[in-house]
Amino acid sequence: MQWIRQLARTTAHDAVIRLARWSVLLVLSSGELFAADPTQLDLESRFTNSVRPFVEVYCITCHGPEKPKADLDLSPFSTMDAVRRDFPHWELVLEKLQGAEMPPEKAKRHPSPELRQNIVQWIQDARRYEGEKNAGDPGPVPARRLSNAEYDYSIRDLTGVDIRPTREFPVDPANQAGFDNSGESLAMSPALLKKYLQAARIVSEHLALKPDGFEFAPHPVVADTDRDKYSVLRIVDFYRRQPTDYADYFMAAWRYRNRAALGQADASLVQIAADSKISSKYLTTIWATLNEAAEPVGPLARLLAQWRELPTGGTTQAGVARQGCERMRDFVVRLREQIVPEVKNLAAPAIQNGSQTLVLWKNRQMAANRRRYDPGALQIAGVEPMPVKLPGKIPAQEEQAALAKITVTNLPSVAPESTAYKNPNAQATTQRRRTNQPPSTPQYINQGGFSLPPAILTTDSSATFKLAAARKRAAGPDPDLVVPADPAERARYEAAFARFADIFPDAFYITERARVYLDAEKEQENSGRLLSAGLHSMTGYFRDDGPLYDLVLDEQGRRELDQLWQEFDFAASIPQRMHKSFVWFERTDSSFMRDPEFDPFRPEDKSVTDQAKIQKLGELYLAKAVRNNASETVRQAIREHFEIVAANILRVEQEHVTAEPAHLSALLRFAERAYRRPLSRDERNGLLAFYRAARDENGLDHEEALRDSIARVLMSPNFCYRADLIDEIGKATQVTPSSGGSRREEAHSSIFPNQSLLTSAATGRVNSRPLSDYALASRLSYFLWSSMPDAELLAHAQAGDLNRAEVLVAQTHRMLKDARIGNFAREFGGHWLDFRRFEEHNAVDRERFPAFNNELRLAMFEEPIRFIVDLVREDRSVLNFLYAEYTFVNAPLARHYGMPFPSPRSTRREEALSTSSNKSEGLLTSAAAAGSEEWVRIEHADKFGRGGLLPMSVFLTANSPGLRTSPVKRGYWVVRRVLGERIPPPPAVVPELPNDEKTLGDLTVRDALAKHREDKSCASCHARFDSFGLVFEGYGPVGERRENDFGGRPVDTRASFPGGGEGSGFAGLLDYIRAHRENDFIDNLCRKLVAYGLGRTLLPSDDSLIERMRTKLAANGHRFSILVEGIVTSPQFRTKRIEQERNQSHAQRE
């Protein structure tokens, strides 16, 4: 290349001689040009005869290789081919020549207008020629790694959790178009690769194994306590999602009763339950109870009386009815609390009260009592209430007697009818009982052991009992608890109480349990022990959700809940750990197992959970209890305990063994999702071999080997690179007459304007081939979601029909409506409008602007994202970006804008928002989602000086240097980012304005700028954008509206725009844009979107696509989807350059 530079330095006098030499060299160096058509020859000769000499004479003095002015070196452009390959620089040349900005006035030589026009014409002709010749050229889009954002989003979609491993990565550079998603800018380095390795390991530590596969937890799940946390939070979350407010059920029943008046005459109970988001099963129970034929007595009679009092009518009565329903609920809860059967502590000599054997027994009793009542709580009419007995331990004999007595008095009819759920502790489901359970396991173990008959004993730890106890002390006798003395009548009442208790359990589920053997009220301080079994210090969890399971959940809900508990046991080895914890406790804090006979049992020992050892320990434990005269109940509790422990441990161990193949299948599925295409047979075998080697050669256990396999998949370039594979040649050209092949050909011809692009052998200069369907799916999803394709896209890829126009367009529309379009808003919008990192913006002086806190900063950042998401999902006109009168605010932003923030219930929840509550859809940054701030659309934001992109505070703030505004930066932002104007960088030496308006003296910022423009060299650029910033002077440094600047001077928002026209304020700017610059905006948006969608800088050959997009846009109400459709159906999006042919031609020539 040295010779070119030398040429460039020689004087114009040698031009003629050099022209001849160039021609020769050109012919030698470019095979393509050699075969050029007449137009090309013409352009070529115009270049050599006039353009190049022009450059030499008028330009190269300044724009030569040595310290080129404005960093523009024109010397390398010695051939038309060089121009063709780097056209953007020539567009700049074109711009400067057209605007007569170059050569500058002070230059020695100036071309004649004709000559200037001649060169302008040549550049335009060349551009058009090149563009048309290669229209649809996919351009150079090399294999490239995922950008940081794409990596994070892909990990989120792949794992279902938002781990964001790239936080530690260096920031990705942007390409010339301003985006960070192109191969031009995305490079790999050893340092980065090391970070990839760390990231892969971090992700693998989130791996949570399940009996039938695996998933990923939101935090690492390697240590036991983290495993526990993961499962416990999921289960509690499930519980809290369930509808268990009685008032909601009564209200739904009321709606059903008044369905005609409510205009839903045909609504079924099931439908109303669905509308009310409650369980139809439980609503059916409630409805039946409220509409019994027989006249009830006791609590049911009172409830029914209230029910009948509810108003009749339509919507107007709903408010009153709701209040009535809430009173009914309060009645049920209050009464129910007072009849909770109490379960006393089970006690035994030498056994600590907080021991597993005793506490878990008590838990089982309480669980069995949830739908039973305590007859002792009733008061017989005319009989003084018995003084409350507070016995300590019940002697064994007395206990037996009580047992017998209650069995007699408690009528068989009151036993709960439910049979489906009886397994709070063994956690065996009905399904499992049919399939996986070892047949030898006695049924009662699956059901959590024997339960005593109801209501003989007392508990002081039931969730509701605590409240009831407090009220009992406060209130005297309760008339609702009074039953008639007459035995027959009394039996009727007791039956009613039993039924009442059966329908309305004392709790649907228990999420928290402090130590159940200690004083309940004191223990209330120990909150937050989710699902804990309430033991002394030991690891232990206890499932108690029978009423929810039996009364509320449908089949699917039951399955889900069973699975959650099963997965908990499985992932955290709960039965094993509980047992080890038991052994530790009984040998230390409790001294029960200190005798030497227990010495072989050590919690650290793996064998302590062997079946034989458990059995042996059970025998020794029982024998010691018997020696100490434990009651029969205690003996039974001990027998049950060890049997349950043994069965549970056996079950989990068996699950661990049988799960391994399932985990390997899941691993293959994981790789397939990660690679975004099916695996080849070699890949499948390779991955399994890797796992095997990790176990056999590296000696890892199953879980470690799986983690390494996950890391290995994530490190593969198949995951972290996008390679846009084309179909293998044979496959792509293979046309089977009857099936997919020919259909695909049709589809192509219907979409592609230039058929020749599809075949490499065609006459066009650029050879390209269609992407494979899978590559196309990835292209589409990384364009619109910055992430991997979802199942539906992959299914189309598999079916081979994604290439069909109608499928492609339909999928595009579906994707534009998806919540993941938030990624697009952030990535495309954030780069286009330059607010990508505003969450971290720290240039604001928070002492002077106390309103600017993190919350407001985040809200400012969110506003354009919300706006773009709405515009895209609702497929609105892109002109809304400029002219919309609406915007989106949350409470802090509304405050900042001086808008009254509508109270949450009175406004329609923003749709984009409500769907974002689903974590995996992830429309929002997690911080905003966590704050669960409500966003609303403000229709007439223009009244508050807002609406559309331009006056959003994020842009006004980002373009202000601290304590003053910057009309320069703001104006530059508008013309560059929004209108797409290219303006050269400022010269190195420019006067700095002070950072604080106060320190400007007599001048306003406007005055200072006006002075600046007096300098002609500054004026040429500043005249092009200052006015765009001055109109925003009514907005202060954090985008707040203002009348005066910080120096106390009234702001002046008038401006004269370039090319004529005066205007004032933001409205004036819009008028000007509408009249003169709207096309610039649209052109810029199209170009940005194409550059982003294709992942590369634009080429002249993209011009026709952009032209088509603009035409269609104008004809279709400027709907956003028109642009995206245009891009995804374009040849450049759907094909890939093939370069072999060119290389071959080179080779042949040589």
Partner: protein, 445 residues
Amino acid sequence: MRNVNDPKAPGISRRTFLRGAGVVMALPWLESLPVRGVEASAAPGGFPQRFAAVFMGNGINPNHWWAKESGADMELSKTLEPLAPFRSKLNVINGLFNKPAVGVGIHPGQTGNILSGMPLMKGAVLRGGISMDQVLANHVGQDTMQPSLVLGCEQPITGYHETNFSMAYSSHISWQSAESPVPMEVYPSLAFDSLFENRGSKRTQSILDRVKDDAASLNRKISSEDSRKLDEFLTSVREVEKRVDRMRSDQAKAEEHARDRGKPLIAMNRPDNGLPEDIRDHMRLMSDVVALAFQTGKSRVATLVLCRDLSGLFYPFLGVRKAHHSASHDDTSDDYESVSRYYVSNLAYLASRLDAMPEGEGTVLDNTCLLYLSNMWSGTRHDNTRLPVLTVGGLGGTLKTGRVLDYTETGDENRKLCSLHLSLMDRMGVSLPRFGDAETRLADL
């Protein structure tokens, strides 16, 4: 060829290069890859510094925990007597405390933050702070086979204590983040294995090997332009492999040196699977693993929980029938004195192993700091307003030893355990402005 795109072409500014269309941007390609480890945390003598925290739960017998005078003349209490051979390498530090662990509730709340100094959260969701050993692991440990060893002689437990703190805080003193403890290795055989390649760099190597295959097979399906980008990837993989190799060969050398110089050296066979029947064997084996790791440079940071808080260990060989926690409730008893002394003897054992390994003019112990800690002073009163703290080893000449330091009377601000952590991390080249509740270094250390 466009020479505008050739960044090496003279006379073309970087800016032009960046602004050219279709140009490869400035890459993090040349980002240096500092080889941390030996260089970063080398003692003045050029030998790597090592750190181990050795923990026992439930305090000591306060009546027999004292020392007087200094250096070879140091007079040691009965409990500290096992450390007599190391008088000149020992610091007995009295009066330090971990303020965030005081007054929040006994046991777990006194333990889980002993190396982090951050307040602990009660309930099902744990939260504290990253521990200082893990801070060190993230720096000096990055290029060793194992960034850190986190060992224990008792399984962690995870129930709830009556104070409503999770019992996990009683088991874990090493925390990789505020929310997650580092899983603790209890099996000597697995702890031993973790020092060998099949569990360390070989795992990485296996992954990189397969990834190279992937890239090669992908390369066959793509164009030459694609290949250029994939070459970046392959080159990066090879670079990282080289570093892994270098690390391995460095370590092979270190082992060689150890073999040549270390007499008597640790001739440690792989411990049997499962747990030793006798707790004495268990603790000795775990100490041996730490010593082996330090000697061979496979790891430079370790924590060893000899027994956790609320420990259930038994000491029949001491004639003590009660388990550890129960025994600690009578902390001034002879029984508990002998238990405390037994633990100090374990520290002495680890010190003796390291001291038997020559390194330069001194021994590995001289380039190490063993930090001995408990979560209480008095188990009977659950008193942690002062803590028993010992250090053994000179940390490569950066830590003055042979001293008895007393901070009892210096005021709470000046006797923070986290100040000691800061001071120790400083000496290993990890200088933080603050750590846990401390912003100042420990005076006079």
